[in-house]
C-alpha cells in the first residue's frame, strides 16, 4: 500500500539543553552506561563446543525421511516437497512400490530421494507440504562435509538421520497429520 502524506508524522529534533551542549556531561553519562555494563555484566554467551545449545523442538536443521511402523520409508513420492521447495534442492525418482508393500495400499514409493543440503535454505516448506509426514527437519545443526558430494543426501542417508535422531531421542516424530492423509487412514481390514 502506498504511503500518503498523512501517514508521515513529522518530528522535530529534540532541543539540546545547556548540559548537553557542553558535550562532556553527556559523554560522561554515556560512559556511566557502558562502564556500568562492565561491572554488572549480563553475559548470555554460550560456550559452543563445550556447551550444546538448547534448541526448540521446531528448529529447522538437517532433514530426515521418516520410517513407518515396519521400517519402510514413509514417503510416497508425491513430489509435494519438491514442488514446494523454493530452492529446488529435492530430487525424487518415483517408482511403483514393491509388490509386498502394495497389500498395505502402498502404490508408489521413492526409488531415489536426494536432497542437496547445500542448496537447501532450511525453510521447512517440504515438511509443511508433506501429506504423509515423511519428511521432517531435525534439530541437527552441525552439518559438515568435506566435499559437495558429501552434502548431497540420498535416501539411505536421510533414513539414517531418522534412525540417529530417534535413537538419540532428540527428535521424536513431531508432525501428526490431519484426517485427510494417506498415512493417517486406517489400512483396510
Amino acid at each position: 500500500m502506498p504511503r500518503t502524506e498523512s501517514d508521515v508524522r513529522w518530528v522535530d529534533e529534540p532541543r539540546l539543553g545547556f548540559w548537553e551542549q557542553l558535550y562532556i556531561p553527556a559523554m560522561l553519562d554515556g560512559l556511566k552506561t557502558t562502564i556500568g555494563h562492565i561491572f554488572r555484566p549480563q553475559v548470555r554467551t554460550e560456550q559452543y563446543p563445550e556447551q550444546e545449545p538448547k534448541l526448540p523442538g521446531n528448529y529447522r536443521g538437517v532433514h530426515r525421511l521418516n520410517r513407518d511402523e515396519e521400517g519402510r520409508v514413509k514417503c510416497v513420492a508425491c513430489y509435494m516437497c519438491a514442488t514446494a521447495c523454493p530452492a529446488h534442492c529435492i530430487d525424487i525418482v518415483a517408482a511403483p512400490a514393491p509388490t509386498e508393500w502394495q497389500k498395505d495400499g502402498r502404490e508408489k514409493y521413492p526409488e531415489t530421494f536426494v536432497i542437496d543440503e547445500l542448496r537447501c535454505i532450511y525453510c521447512g516448506m517440504c515438511e509443511e507440504a508433506c501429506p504423509v509426514d515423511a519428511i521432517e527437519l531435525t534439530t541437527l545443526y552441525d552439518l559438515t562435509g568435506l566435499s559437495r558430494e558429501q552434502m548431497v543426501f540420498d535416501k539411505e542417508k536421510l533414513l539414517s538421520v531418522f534412525d540417529q535422531t530417534t535413537k538419540a531421542g532428540t527428535d521424536p516424530v513431531r508432525t501428526r497429520s490431519g484426517r485427510l492423509s494417506v498415512a493417517s487412514e486406517t489400512p483396510p481390514g
Binding site: V8, W19, Q21, L22, M27, T33, H37, I38, P41
Partner: protein, 413 residues
C-alpha cells in the same frame, strides 16, 4: 646523563620499540575485552588463559596470511605507505619521557663562580639517567608535532596508491581531519609552554614536580580537554574514525591492504595513541610524580622502576579511557567533525592562550587560570545554547515534497 653511547642508545631504542609494539598488541586485546564487557559479551577467551595469548595469535595470523598486492595499485607507494605510517608513529617516541627524567640545567648568568656552578650542574646532569631516547631536546614538543603530522603521509599514500575510491575517500577524509586537528592540538599546549617557559617535556615535568601536587591539569583543564580530543582525532579513533568508517568506506584507506601491511597500518594507530598518551602524562599529569609517593623509594634503581611504573600506569589509564570513549560514543558526521575543530576547539584554544598570556603579563596567581578555563568552557556551552547548537550542527532546511510524490522522502537543501 652519561655521554652519548651508540650501543646503549641502540639497546634502548630496540627495547622501547619492542616494548611499545608488544604493548600495542595487548592494547588490541584490552580493546576487544573492554568492548565485549561493555556489550555483555565475553570477548576473546580461547587462546591462552582468559585469551591472554590472543595478541600472539593475531600477530601470527597477520604474518601467515596471504599477502595480496592487487594488480591495480601503484606498487612503490603501496608498499611504502605502511612503513611510512609506522615509521612516523615510532619516531614520535624519541622525545616522549617514559620514566624518570631530569631537565638539562639552565644556563647560569654570567657572574662569579658561574663556570663552576655550571660545570657542577653539568656533572650532576651527567649522572642522571633520563628515560627519554633523546633527552635534553629543547624543541621537544615541536619535534613531536612535526613528526606527528607526517603520519598523514602514510594515510594519503595508502589511499592514493590503492587506486580504489573507498581508499581515496578515506585518505582524503584522514588528511583533512589530521591537518585540521593539528591546530587545536598545538594551540592547546601553547599555554602550558607559556607557563613553564620551555618546550622541553622534561622541563615541563620538572616544573610540575617542583610544584608538588599542582600538576598543570589544575591550571589548564581546558587545554587538557582540547589536547585529548585532538589527540583522538589525530589517532583516527572513534568518535573520529571517519577515515576508516567501515559502514561507508569498507576499510577506508586500508581497504586494499592485507596481512602484515594491514597489521602495520592498524599498529601505527595504537603507537600514535601510546605516544600521545605519554605526552599527555608529561605535559598535564605530572609525568613520573604521584603526589610525592614516588619519593618513598630511595634506592636509585627501584626509584627509577617505580617512576617508570607511574608513568606507564598513567599512560595506561589514559589509553583505557580512550577505549572506554571509543565504545561509548558514536561517530561524528564529517561536517560536525570539521565544525568542532574550526568553530569550537580553535577559538577556545586561542582564548585560553589569551588568558594565559594575560595572567603571565599581569603577574596574577596561576589559580586564576583554573577559573578562566571553567569560564571559557561553560561560556562555550552558554553560547551554544543561545545559538541552538547551530555552530557544530547547522540546521538544514527540510523541504516537504509536493503532493503526488512518495511521502516520507525529504530533500535537504
Amino acid at each position: 646523563m652519561p655521554a652519548f653511547d651508540p650501543t646503549t642508545t641502540a639497546i634502548v631504542i630496540v627495547c622501547l620499540m619492542a616494548g611499545v609494539l608488544g604493548l600495542c598488541g595487548f592494547l588490541t586485546l584490552s580493546e576487544r575485552k573492554i568492548s565485549a564487557w561493555m556489550q555483555d559479551r565475553l570477548g576473546p577467551n580461547r587462546v591462552g588463559p582468559f585469551g591472554l595469548l590472543q595478541p600472539l595469535a593475531d600477530g601470527g595470523k597477520f604474518f601467515l596470511k596471504e599477502e595480496v598486492i592487487p594488480s591495480h595499485v601503484d606498487k612503490v607507494f603501496y608498499v611504502m605507505a605502511p612503513s611510512v605510517a609506522v615509521g612516523t608513529a615510532l619516531l614520535a617516541l624519541a622525545v616522549v619521557p617514559f620514566g624518570p627524567t631530569a631537565p638539562p640545567p639552565d644556563p647560569v648568568p654570567v657572574a662569579a663562580g658561574a663556570v663552576a656552578t655550571f660545570e657542577q650542574a653539568q656533572a650532576e646532569y651527567q649522572n642522571q639517567t633520563n628515560f627519554v631516547l633523546a633527552p635534553g631536546l629543547d624543541v621537544g614538543v615541536l619535534y613531536l608535532f612535526a613528526v606527528g603530522s607526517l603520519a598523514v603521509y602514510g594515510v594519503v599514500l595508502a589511499g592514493w596508491s590503492a587506486n580504489n575510491k573507498y581508499s581515496l575517500l578515506g585518505a582524503l577524509r584522514a588528511s583533512a581531519q589530521i591537518i585540521s586537528y593539528e591546530i587545536p592540538l598545538g594551540m592547546a599546549v601553547l599555554g602550558v609552554f607559556l607557563i613553564v617557559g620551555s618546550l622541553n617535556p622534561e622541563k615541563v615535568i620538572a616544573w610540575q614536580t617542583a610544584n608538588g601536587v599542582w600538576w598543570l591539569v589544575v591550571f589548564q583543564p581546558l587545554a587538557l580537554l582540547l589536547f585529548m580530543t585532538a589527540q583522538y582525532a589525530e589517532a583516527n579513533r572513534l568518535p573520529f574514525d571517519l577515515p576508516e568508517a567501515e559502514q561507508e568506506l569498507v576499510g577506508g584507506y586500508h581497504t586494499e591492504y592485507s596481512a602484515l601491511k594491514l597489521g602495520l597500518m592498524l599498529l601505527s594507530e595504537y603507537v600514535h595513541l601510546v605516544a600521545g598518551s605519554l605526552m599527555l602524562v608529561a605535559l598535564f599529569l605530572g609525568g613520573w610524580s604521584l603526589f610525592g609517593l614516588e619519593g618513598f623509594v630511595t634506592h636509585p634503581v627501584w626509584a627509577a622502576a617505580v617512576k617508570t611504573l607511574i608513568v606507564c600506569g598513567k599512560m595506561f589509564a589514559l589509553v583505557i579511557f580512550a577505549q572506554f570513549v571509543r565504545w561509548t560514543i558514536p561517530r561524528f558526521r564529517f561536517d560536525q567533525l570539521m565544525n568542532i575543530a574550526w568553530k569550537v576547539m580553535i577559538p577556545l584554544a586561542l582564548l585560553n592562550l589569551l588568558c594565559v598570556m594575560a595572567v603571565k603579563q599581569l603577574g596574577w596567581p596561576l589559580g586564576v587560570l583554573t577559573g578562566t578555563s571553567a569560564v571559557l568552557f561553560l561560556g562555550a556551552g552558554v553560547v551554544s545554547v543561545r545559538l541552538s547548537g547551530s555552530v557544530t550542527n547547522p540546521k538544514r532546511k527540510v523541504v516537504k515534497l509536493p503532493p503526488g510524490l512518495p511521502a516520507g522522502v525529504t530533500y535537504a537543501s
